[in-house]
Amino acid sequence: METPPRWATWLLTTFSHPDTQEEVEGDMLELYAHWFQTIGRRRANWRYGLNALRLLRPRARFRAHADSSHSLLRPAMIRNYLTVARRQLWRNRVFTLLNVVGLSIGLCTSWIIYRIVSYELAFDQHIPAKEQIYRVVTHFKPGSFMPTSPGLPVPLLAAIPKQVPGIEHAVPIRTQWNESVYVPQPAGKPERFRANDQLVATNPDYFERIPYQWLAGHQRRALEEPNQVVLTQARAARYFPRLSPQQVLGRRLIYFDTLSVQVVGVVANPTRPSSLGAQEFLSLATVSARDPNRDQWDNINSADQLFVWLTPQANPARLAEQINRLAAVHSSGVRLKNGQRERWHLLQPLADVHFDTEYADSSHPVDKAVLYKLMGLAAFILLLAIINYINLTTALTPGRAREIGIRRTLGSRSGAIIGQFLGETVLVTLLALGLSFALAPLFFTQFGDWVPAGAEQYLDWSSASLFVIGLLVSVSLLAGLYPGWLATRSQTIGTLKGAPLETAHPLLRGLTLRKGLIVFQFGLAQVFIVCAWLLGQQLRYALHKDMGFERQAVVVALLPINNQTPPEQIGKRVALRQAINQLPGVALVSLGSLPANQSISRSELSLPRDSGEVTLGVQFKFVDSNYIHLYKLPILAGRNLQPTDTMRDFVLNETAVRRLGFKRPQDAIGKQLSTGTVSYPIVGVVRDFQTNSVRHAIEPLALISYQYHASYISIRLAAGRPDDWASTLANIGNLWRRFYPDEPFNSLFYDESVQAFYEQERALSRIINLATGIAVLISCLGLFGLAMLTSQQRTREIGVRKVLGASVSSILLLLSSEFIKLVLLAILLGSPIAWYLMEQWLADFVYKIDVDWWVFMLTGLLALLVALLTVSYQSLRAALANPVDSLRNE
């Protein structure tokens, strides 16, 4: 038997109308046999296929279907849906508002987190051949001060591409610290611009490999000579506000106070984030010539990084070994000793550079786990909002039973009813989306420091619009399907006859699901409230803790660093100290690093003892002899530092003395401590004070008199006259300008600087407070919906109770007690979770608050109070209602 083309048969069986499928298939088969015999296989196949195709015409298939049903998508029906949706939303405008607000919170969170996550994930994605790119990084033996560094010794930057095979291109990126850029003016003094971050020195290969759009100048010739610079458009506009990029070309800028550099190119502002990005690019030769580290094979700075492009065949591990062998020629630390190295180099794939927090530098790498947690948080809050929507919408469904009943009687299918609910959800979601776009900029301005720099500017329109559409569709489906489905389950006849509403919704009678949701939401709210409370408590504790030194009425200011020799520098500072000290209203002035400061210098000190040498890692503070008096550090033994400019003696803290092995502070006095090159005696011991945030334990500390490294000036104002402080500060400012005419006097009270100390915690605290607000708000919305539904359902019951003599208060109690039970359960479930989370968080702190049981009681009471307030409106209305109204329907 001949078989017709299989594809055509498949078309027939798959797409033909079920009513006629059998005979059509049979007829076609018979005809095929006939054609096969009369006109041959080829033409028979042809005819068979053609007929099968023509049977696909919509008429053949959909005809019967379309005629026997009511089209869901006729214009009249669509108009009807819209009208009903509009009326429905307007009639329940309070609910619509609650829904819009609730959903917009979820959508806004998702949108903001999408912006952050998409920004972070976009790092380096636009760089061609990114799989070939690696960064050469440094590791140190375990137990070192610094376990890793993203940098390399300067001479190695040049040696690796020359001497290691398998590298196609190498781009050194050396971040430069430059206090000010001067723009020479045709007449008068050069104009000065401060805060010039994002300045790197690199080679011409950089612009060959990293795509930039050139607005002026030529990529091929840029950065080949010394004293050349390429600017981004933003920087060019900053330094030369009135010039076009072409006009900026050839202009000169002064870097590092004296170095005149020519602009050889202007590139468009980068639109995509990159670990290799910067704003100003000096030619490598510009900095190499004046670099004091150019022959230092053992000096590693995270600012000097090398990116290499490997040949496709190269093996990164083998290449790293070759680099180590090369480095070992020059530095003993890289040589193998007993199969171990003190320092070694590795290749880090570019894909990891932005996400490996192990190599922290100024580019702020971010842990991918954090991004995933953020996405989880967004999904979670969105889910809460959707649950709420479902909760509130289903609460309204009984009120619509009649509408749905009539629709069904008139022949509406389930699909049409679900479609109606979906359509309404889409409308609400659209409104919420609009609101969330209005809220998002507000968030970015309020919590800007919490958002990574650049995330607000970065937006990839195509993927962002896909995200928004996806969000709209998925939220509408998730939120709209269930209420719609529930509505189709109502018993039509019953609702039309005016039967009690509950019977219309068998699924709502139990309410278990919704009660579960309420418990879940309030449990979460409790977790947030507890976390916010404890966070605030720890933060207050950290800010007001006795730090071991007096910080009331102390004003501090950062001292400028100029290109002066140490003696000049010290002379100026000492003179400034002298001058300020003579002002009225000033009690004492001291030069020295702040007692508690995040920038810490450490070194090792050794003490010869009978049992051999004791070596101790010690934190240094470079101060003067006023320091101990100014901060009122109690001296436990010995005396103050000698009033000199240079190092002559040590004052240690208790911890250092203890770690060096002395039982009593007195025992340490007079002992010689060696820095490795020179030795000085211990002359005094001060009581321990906080040198870092409360996250850290107190470390061994040495106070040393050396004003060149003193980074701050501290001024104790005369106590008791806070009203005069403003004028005193103004006087100090005037004096300052005489010494440092170009430097602003940015003073701040020590308490403010302590606040800056806990910036991270404060940011976290603000975020948690916000999240608490969101969680409580969303939970209350849900509870409100449930309260409304319950009081509606029990209208008749309440009416009967009132007729039989129940008082308003007893009915209030009856209605509220149910919710109180739910909320209590939520508090019971949420508290241990909150306790566990906060224990984890507090574990990072050495000095911390105790988590007391009353915190849980108090926050629980708070949650209960909020819940009671939320339900009281509905309960009160139900309790006060006239029973005549509620019973009239019988």
Binding site: T20, E22, E23, G26, D27, L31, H34, L55
Partner: protein, 112 residues
């Protein structure tokens, strides 16, 4: 009575069904039209036309018994309804009236 409208091809299909009697199903109808009218017709057009005529109420159909041929699939046999018979008679009456109205000399003129 509302005058029935019948397309040319519909008329041919309707007449063919009437002519085939008990044996009118998709294949025989298609082949008969091919042979009698001497023109190639697609099975698909015959099929849709049959569907359309059935919807208009001119045709009725029933499924035949299972057959050994054509993979055991049954045939759908078509027959005229009373309305269908009335319609082809009506069509024929109109045609005859028109034929009769043609003056005899027309043939001489055109034939001559």
């Amino acid at each position: 009575m509302k005058r029935a409208f019948l397309g040319e091809f519909e008329e041919i299909v309707l007449l063919t069904v009437a002519g085939l009697g008990e044996q009118a199903y998709g294949v025989t109808i298609t082949q008969t039209i091919e042979v009698k009218a001497g023109r190639a017709v697609g099975f698909s057009s015959v099929h849709t036309t049959l569907q359309r005529l059935a919807e208009k109420g001119y045709l009725t159909s029933h499924m035949g018994g299972a057959t050994a041929e054509r993979g055991g699939r049954r045939k759908r046999f078509f027959s005229l309804t009373a309305l269908g018979q009335q319609v082809i008679l009506e069509v024929r009456r109109v045609r005859e009236q028109l034929w009769n109205a043609i003056p005899p000399q027309t043939w001489h003129l055109s034939g001559g």
